[in-house]
Amino acid sequence: MRKWLVASVSAAALVLPGAALAQDSIKIGVLVALEGAFAAGGSDAVRNIELAISEAGGMAGGKAIETVIAPTDTTPDTTIRQARKLVEQDGVDFVVGPLSGSEGIAIRDFAKTVPDKVFINGISGALEMTWVDPAPNVYRFNLDGAQWGQGLGSYVVNEKGWTKVASIAADYSFGYTNFLGFAVDFCRAGGEIVERFWVPLGSSDFGGVIAQMPDDVDAIYLGMGGTDAINFLNQYDQAGADTNLIGGTIMADATVLTSRGRAKEALVGTPTSGAFAPDNPDPAWQEYLAKYRAFEGDEAKVPSLFGVGYHVAMLAAIQALNEVEGDLSNGQEKFKAALAGLELASPLGTITLNENRQATGSVFVTEVVEGSDGNLEAVFKARQDGVTQTLGLTADEFRAMGLPSRDTPDCDALRGG
C-alpha cells in the first residue's frame, strides 16, 4: 500500500508540472556535450543559452520559455538517445543542439524521423549536416568547417604575400573540411599548394614529417588542434625550422593558446580564421561581450566558440518565435517558415539561411600575438562577410569539386577558373 502511494505521488509529481505549464509555455530541449573533451565548452554553451533567455525576459512569442538540458558525451549514439528522450519523454517543442561534427550528422538523420519538430543546430561544424541530403527540419545558424577557412586564403595572399604553401593537417573529416575552405579561397586568389601531408589524429611525434617539409615555401598551413598541435610546434621549434605558419580554425584555439611551456611561442604572428574574434570592434559583438561578462561576473572572460554558437542559435529561436507569436501548431509550419526567412542580427553580424537552411555569415581572420600577461591571444585582423555554404562558387561548381578529402580541392583547377 505504501509503495503504491509513493509510486503514485512521484508519478503525479513528474507529470503535474508539465501538464500545468503545457498551455502557456514553450519547452526547448538543449542537446549539449557536458562530458568528454568538449565538456568545458558545453557548460559555456549552457550559460550562453541562459543569457539569451534572460535577455529576452524569459519569454518568447508571449509564452514562458522552459528548457530541458540533455547532456551528451559527443558520441553520435548518445546524442540520438538523448534526442529521442527529449522528443518522446520530455515532449519538447523543438531542440537546440548538438555540439560536435559527428553528432550533427547523426541528428540530421534522426530529424528526418520526426518531421514535425524543428532542430536548430548548436555548433556542429560538419559540412555534411546541411549539404549532403539535408533534413527539411534542421536549421543551422552557424557556419560550417569549410566556411570557417574562407577569407584566410585571400588574406595571406593579399596582405602577407605568401603564395606558395605546403600543408600538414589531421587526417579526418574536420581536417579535410577546414582545409578545403582555406584552399578554395587561397587557390582562387592565386596561391599554390606545393605539397599536402595528412597525419593521423593523435600523432605525437612529427620528427619525420617535419623533415619532409619543403624549404622553398612561403608558409606552412597547420590544420591540427589540441595536443597534436602542441607536440608539432614543440618539435618544429626543436628542429630549428622557422618558416611562417598559417593556422587552421582549431590551431589557435584556447587549448593551444593557454598551454604551458614554450611550444606555442612558435605561433606568434600566425594568421588564422574562425567563427569569431574576441576583440572584434563591431558594436553588436562588444555589446554581447559586455553582457556575457556581466552575466558571468568575470571582467576578462572570453566566450568559447561553443558558447557563441549556442547563443546565436537561441537568439534565432527566440526571434522566430516572436515573429509567429509562439504559434507551433500544424507541424510547426509557421515557425519553420519564420526560421527559414530570418534575417538574424547576431553578435557575429547578420546571418541568413540558404535553401539548405545553412547560414551565410561572417568569418573573422585573426592573428596570434603575445598578450600582456605572457599568454598568447588572437587579435582581430579582417572579416569577410556573406560567406556562403558553397564558398562563393555556384552550387554546381561546388558539387563538381567533390566532398572534402585528401586530394580535394584541386588547386590548379581553381586557380585556372
Binding site: 568545458a40 587526417d171 601531408f197 595528412w198 597525419v199 593521423p200 600523432s203 605525437s204 611525434d205 612529427f206 620528427g207 619525420g208 614529417v209 617535419i210 623533415a211 619532409q212 589540441g226 595536443t227 602542441i230 607536440n231 614543440n234 618539435q235 621549434d237 626543436q238 628542429a239 630549428g240 587549448t255 593551444v256 593557454t258 598551454s259 604551458r260 611551456g261 614554450r262 611550444a263
Partner: protein, 335 residues
C-alpha cells in the same frame, strides 16, 4: 649472443644482413636513382632517427614496467599514471628553479618513494592474487588521473628545455646536397640526441647492474624462481621494494623526457601504458634487452610508418604485436 648464433645461423645471418644494409643506407651518400625510388635521404634519415629516439623514450617507460612484471608477476596498470605524474612534477621543478637537470633527481626520488609506498602498502597485501592486483592498479590509475586533472587541469604542458639543449645540431652524416651542390650534413634536434644517449647509458647501466652485481643476481634469481630464492633465506620483500621503487622512478624520469619533446596532458598516461604494454609484449616480459629491442621496433614502426604510409601508421604497431603473439608468444627475447 654466441648461443644464439650457434643455434640459429640462418636467422643470425639475416639479422646481420639487414643491419648492414641499414647502416649502409644511413652512412653512404644516395645516388639519384635511389632518391628517385625512396624519396630524399634527409627524410629517410629523419624517420630512422626519430624512430630510434622515440624508441629510447618507450624504453625508459617500459624498462621499469618489464622488471616489475618479470619479478613480481604484477601487471602494474598504474605505470602510465606514474609517467604522467613524473612529467607534471618535472614541469613544476623546472618552472620554479629553472634547472632542467635538477628535475631528474627530484622526480626520481619522489616517484620512487610513491612506488615504494604503493608496493609496501598496497601490493604486498595481495601478493599472488593477479586479478585483484590488476583491478587495484586500474583503480589507482583512475584515481591518480582525476587527482592530476584536478591539480593541473586539462591544458597541455611542455617542459622548458635549457638553451644548451634547444635547437638543432649538425651530425657528421651525409644527408644529401644543398642547392649549390655542396655536401649537406644532417641537422637534427639536439635534445633528441641527448635523450638517445641518456637512454643508452641507462640501459647499459641497468644491464650491468642486473648481470654483474649482487642485487642483479638476486633479481635474476627472483625472476627465474621466486619460491626457491625465498627458501634460501633472502628477504625477497626488500628486493621487491627496490625493484618497484626503481621502476616507478624510471617512469617518472621518462615523464620529464616525454614532456620535453612531446607534451603532457590528461590521456597521456593511458597512451604510455599502452605503449609500454606493446613494447613488453613484443620484447618479452621481464627482459631488459627485450624491452630495448621491443621499444626500438615499435618506435621505428611508428615513425617510418608515419612518413612512408601515414594512413596505416597506427596499424603497424599493433600488427607487429599480433605477429609476435602469433609466432613467438613469449616475445622476441622472452623465455
Amino acid at each position: 649472443m654466441r648461443d644464439f648464433i650457434a643455434k640459429r645461423p640462418v636467422w643470425s645471418a639475416i639479422i646481420a644482413l639487414v643491419l648492414a644494409v641499414l647502416l649502409w643506407l644511413v652512412l653512404a651518400p644516395w645516388t639519384e636513382a635511389m632518391e628517385e625510388a625512396f624519396g630524399r635521404k634527409r627524410v629517410f634519415l629523419n624517420a630512422i632517427f626519430s624512430g630510434i629516439t622515440l624508441g629510447a623514450l618507450y624504453f625508459l617507460v617500459a624498462a621499469g614496467f618489464t622488471l616489475i612484471f618479470g619479478l613480481m608477476r604484477n601487471v602494474n596498470l598504474a605505470h602510465g599514471s606514474l609517467y604522467l605524474l613524473g612529467g607534471y612534477l618535472g614541469f613544476e621543478v623546472v618552472e620554479r628553479t629553472g634547472y632542467w637537470l635538477l628535475a631528474f633527481p627530484v622526480v626520481f626520488i619522489v616517484i620512487a618513494a610513491l612506488g615504494l609506498l604503493l608496493q609496501h602498502q598496497v601490493f604486498r597485501r595481495m601478493e599472488g592474487e593477479e586479478l585483484r592486483q590488476t583491478m587495484v592498479t586500474i583503480g589507482l590509475s583512475i584515481v591518480l588521473a582525476d587527482i592530476m586533472l584536478w591539480i593541473w587541469g586539462g591544458q597541455s604542458y611542455t617542459i622548458l628545455l635549457p638553451d644548451w639543449l634547444s635547437g638543432p645540431m649538425t651530425l657528421p652524416i651525409h644527408s644529401g646536397y644543398d642547392r649549390s651542390g655542396d655536401v649537406a650534413y644532417l641537422r637534427y634536434p639536439l635534445v633528441r640526441i641527448a635523450i638517445l644517449v641518456a637512454a643508452i647509458v641507462i640501459g647499459v647501466a641497468m644491464w650491468f647492474t642486473l648481470n654483474k652485481s649482487r642485487l642483479g643476481m638476486l633479481i635474476r634469481a627472483g625472476v627465474d624462481d621466486r619460491e626457491m630464492l625465498t627458501a634460501t633465506g633472502i628477504r625477497i620483500q626488500y628486493v621487491f621494494l627496490a625493484v618497484f621503487g626503481f621502476g616507478a622512478g624510471m617512469a617518472g624520469i621518462a615523464g620529464i623526457v616525454g614532456g620535453s619533446f612531446q607534451s603532457l596532458s590528461p590521456g597521456e598516461d593511458t597512451r604510455f601504458l599502452l605503449a609500454s604494454l606493446v613494447v613488453v609484449i613484443v620484447g618479452g616480459m621481464g627482459s631488459i634487452p627485450g624491452a630495448a629491442i621491443g621499444a626500438l621496433v615499435i618506435g621505428l614502426a611508428d615513425q617510418v610508418g608515419l612518413v612512408y604510409a601515414p594512413t596505416y601508421s597506427v596499424v603497424f604497431t599493433f600488427l607487429i604485436m599480433a605477429v609476435v603473439l602469433a609466432f613467438r608468444p613469449q616475445g622476441l627475447l622472452g623465455r
